[in-house]
């Protein structure tokens, strides 16, 4: 299904799992490093909603580790023509409240997603119509051949017909998944209990608690004193501490999360590609990432993370070269550098250090950059279309695991996010999306990556790893690059 994790830590050895704990002790707490404000996956798709929805809902299909679609609520599907996709739905599935699952539920869910006009809805914009032909058949027609459609569908969580249009339903939803929500306090915790009527393999855990802990010390402490069994978001500086704990395994895999820098491409001096390139060449990202993030991140040159399909490294990426950077600046008419600002959100802990390091590098080529930290809400306002900033640093998630999701959303002229426009790129992006054959899409993305490296609308800074520390008693956890894990396979041993 997905990449197997949970044993890549060096000190872990091959643990011979102890005996399973009895069922009434199968209670696991997973500490999250991100907030949970709402559970509605149709509105937005932040980490928390996706994590929770993955375990409470089912989707029609899921993507495996090689981004290949696999059946879930849909037992099979066929492209009856290049723009028509027909699903056969699984029978005998019920929601956790006992209502049976039918194609009407799928249709109602589509209605909801489209009505919410969220980002996923824009991904669904190619869908021209959808019909519930009979209780077990669901058909989607698109306006053009779409290679990414199944990827998008892997993120559509199927809700209940009749109630799917109500906000209150999604605030504490009922799904067909292996777990049921029993308690939710925003930004504090979500408690899931096993769905004993689940159609598939029933979950091993009796209860699963997602606990929001934003303080780094408290997170590790919870792991140390038994307050939690699994902890996400171990920072680089905490890794030695975690490694020292004898009953804990530390695991890392690449994720779909990455951190990037944007220029405001239509604002001087960033409207000059030489300036943008100079700022890139000034950065010794290798050193910054190694020193500050260590194993928790890898440098990148593309604008989306290499774990995702199509996110290939450009062949022409500028190298760290302060001398050349100075030269480029002089050519662009800034022999003595200039002053500018860099904007970031205080919600992103750890950015302070990275930004200070980058500012130091830029100072070496004569560019003075003032840091400007904003409260998350203000930051969002600044980066929402049309962006109001000189430079920003932010992180993002290629949710679908496909380059199209990130690149086609942010960099076409129509996106108006960072004042960047290149019609050649637009054409390539459209072409890549229209291509269903993965092998044919790959070279297109190589071209796209090269154009982006040439134009430097932004800089890919680093790809974040998933850094999870878990007690050795936790078994069966498969880490995935999306950070949404299927907890139904997890169980606790003595």
């Amino acid at each position: 299904l997905v990449l197997a994790g949970c044993s890549s830590g060096d000190g872990s050895g091959d643990a011979t799992p102890g005996a399973r704990l009895p069922d009434d002790q199968q209670n696991l707490t997973y500490v999250l490093n991100y907030g949970c404000t709402s559970l509605d996956p149709t509105e937005n798709f932040d980490n928390c909603r996706m994590q929770m929805s993955t375990n409470v809902f089912d989707t029609l299909v899921t993507l495996d580790s090689k981004s290949q679609p696999q059946p879930k609520l849909a037992s099979s599907w066929t492209w009856t023509d290049p723009t028509t996709l027909q699903f056969k739905l699984r029978t005998g599935v019920t929601f956790s409240d006992g209502t049976p699952f039918t194609s009407a539920d799928v249709k109602a869910t589509f209605d909801r997603y489209i009505a919410m006009k969220s980002v996923l809805a824009t991904q669904l914009a190619v869908v021209s119509s959808y019909t519930a032909d009979d209780p077990t058949t669901f058909t989607i027609r698109t306006s053009a051949p779409t290679g990414t459609l199944l990827g998008v569908l892997s993120m559509i969580f199927i809700g209940q017909e009749g109630r799917a249009s109500e906000d209150s339903y999604w605030a504490k939803p009922i799904g067909t998944g292996p777990f049921v929500i029993s308690d939710f306090v925003a930004n504090d915790h979500i408690t899931l209990t096993r769905n004993d009527t689940y159609w598939g393999t029933k979950a091993n855990l009796k209860t699963l608690t997602f606990k929001v802990v934003t303080d780094t010390n408290a997170r590790i402490t919870a792991l140390a004193n038994g307050g939690a069994q699994v902890v996400a978001g171990v920072t680089n500086d905490q890794i030695p501490t975690v490694r020292e704990m004898s009953d804990v395994t530390f695991s890392q895999i690449p994720s779909y999360t990455y951190t990037f820098l944007w220029f405001q491409n239509n604002r001087a001096p960033f409207n000059d590609v030489r300036v943008r390139k100079a700022l890139w060449q000034a950065l010794d990202l290798e050193k910054i990432v190694t020193a500050l993030l260590g194993e928790t991140a890898d440098t990148m040159t593309a604008l989306c993370p290499s774990a995702a399909f199509g996110c290939v490294s450009p062949t022409n990426a500028p190298k760290h070269d302060p001398e050349n950077a100075k030269k480029l600046l002089a050519e662009a008419g800034y022999p003595n550098g200039f002053s500018t600002t860099i904007d970031y959100s205080v919600a992103n802990t750890g950015y302070d250090q990275i930004i200070a390091a980058m500012i130091s590098d830029w100072k070496a080529i004569g560019v003075t950059v003032a840091p400007k930290s904003d409260d998350q809400a203000t930051f969002l306002k600044n980066i929402a279309s049309p962006g109001d900033f000189d430079m920003i640093v932010n992180s993002n998630l290629t949710t679908t695991g496909d380059a199209d999701f990130t690149l086609n959303r942010l960099y076409p002229c129509s996106a108006k996010r960072l004042g960047y426009c290149n019609s050649e790129l637009d054409a390539l992006l459209a072409k890549a999306r229209g291509t269903t054959d993965l092998e044919q899409r790959k070279p297109l993305y190589q071209q796209i990556a090269n154009i982006l490296a040439e134009d430097v609308p932004g800089i890919g800074l680093f790809e974040n790893n998933i850094n999870v520390a878990a007690k050795k008693t936790v078994q069966g956890l498969n880490l995935t690059p999306t950070e949404n894990y299927d907890w139904s396979t997890v169980y606790l041993t003595k």
């Binding site: 906000d167 929001v212 802990v213 919870a222 939690a228």
Partner: protein
């Protein structure tokens, strides 16, 4: 007495109206779009517009203000933007936790500071006094988040005696209570010390001594009762501060309290929840201080009868 309470309540309503208006204006002055926070930076303009309409943010400010005041009067602050449940429900979830914490911190502070203050005042300017006053200044000088983290590392991580996050049982209350009480102990200790010193110079203390009462009795009912009067006032004010100001401690210990709810609702621009939090905190504050003033009258007959 009843008339006094009624008049105080009238004033309290005025104060709460002021707080309500201020919070209403302030949350709306803060730039940022609540819709954007719900839907994320990638949301489409259509989605944002629809959200704003749903949240009632497309209405004129005056209409919003009218609705807010009208609702607030009946305890209905509208739904949380993010969670789509009544804002009041969220507060009801966390307020008792914070209240419990605040009460415990007050009790702990009083229990510690009375003997310390007394001891210091009895040995004024001596080594004990110096130790107590310097110690109290010392604990007050440490930022609470620092103490919080240190306690967390020592008692939770290293010694594994106490849990570090959440509120599952009484053990979760210990560390936050200590952190909240520490600066309070310092303030109270010094207040009690200074109050006692002041009172010990009063004529009635001389009278009590001249009656031949032992020093214990001179201090115990005579001095303490008089010195307690300003202490009660401070406890009232501090209790209010504890409610609203526990955000830092609650964050360190991931404690589900109203301080954290207020901070996150502000960060999320969840106007209704923020407004409700501020008003509830203000209401508790005003109420506590009313109670304090009544207690004050109870402790000091001159106040009650001179009303």
């Amino acid at each position: 007495m009843l008339g006094y309470v009624i008049r105080r309540l009238v004033l309290a309503v005025f104060v709460l109206w002021g707080v309500a208006t201020a919070v209403f204006v302030i949350v709306r002055l803060v730039p940022a779009d609540p819709a954007l926070l719900i839907a994320g930076s990638d949301a489409s303009p259509e989605q944002l517009a629809a959200l704003r309409q749903k949240l009632g943010l497309d209405e004129s400010i005056l209409v919003q203000y009218g609705k807010f005041l009208g609702g607030a009067a009946t305890g209905d602050f509208g739904d949380s933007f993010q969670q789509r449940v009544p804002a009041m429900d969220l507060i009801v979830q966390v307020l008792p936790n914070t209240a419990l914490l605040a009460v415990l911190a007050c009790v702990l502070a009083l229990v510690l500071s009375f003997p310390l203050g007394l001891l210091a005042s009895l040995r004024v300017n001596g080594p004990v006094d110096r130790t107590v006053t310097t110690g109290s200044l010392f604990t007050q000088a440490l930022p609470n988040f620092w103490i919080g983290v240190v306690l967390l590392l020592v008692f939770s991580r290293e010694l594994k005696w106490l849990p570090s996050v959440g509120l599952d049982n009484w053990k979760n209350l210990i560390l936050p209570t200590i952190v909240l009480a520490l600066p309070f102990v310092s303030v109270l200790t010094r207040m009690i010390r200074n109050g006692l010193l002041e009172v010990m110079g009063e004529g009635y203390i001389q009278t009590a001594r001249a009656k031949g009462l032992s020093e214990r009795i001179v201090i115990f009912p005579h001095a303490i009762r008089n010195a307690a009067i300003p202490v009660v006032t401070i406890v009232g004010l501090q209790f209010g501060t504890l409610l609203g100001g526990a955000a830092v401690t609650e964050t360190v210990f991931t404690f589900p309290g109203i301080g954290r709810l207020l901070v996150t609702s502000l960060q999320e621009r969840d106007y209704n929840v923020a407004q409700a939090c501020v008003l509830v905190i203000a209401a508790v504050f005003v109420f506590i201080n009313l109670v304090v003033d009544l207690t004050y009258g109870f402790l000091d007959p001159r106040v009650r009868l001179a009303k």
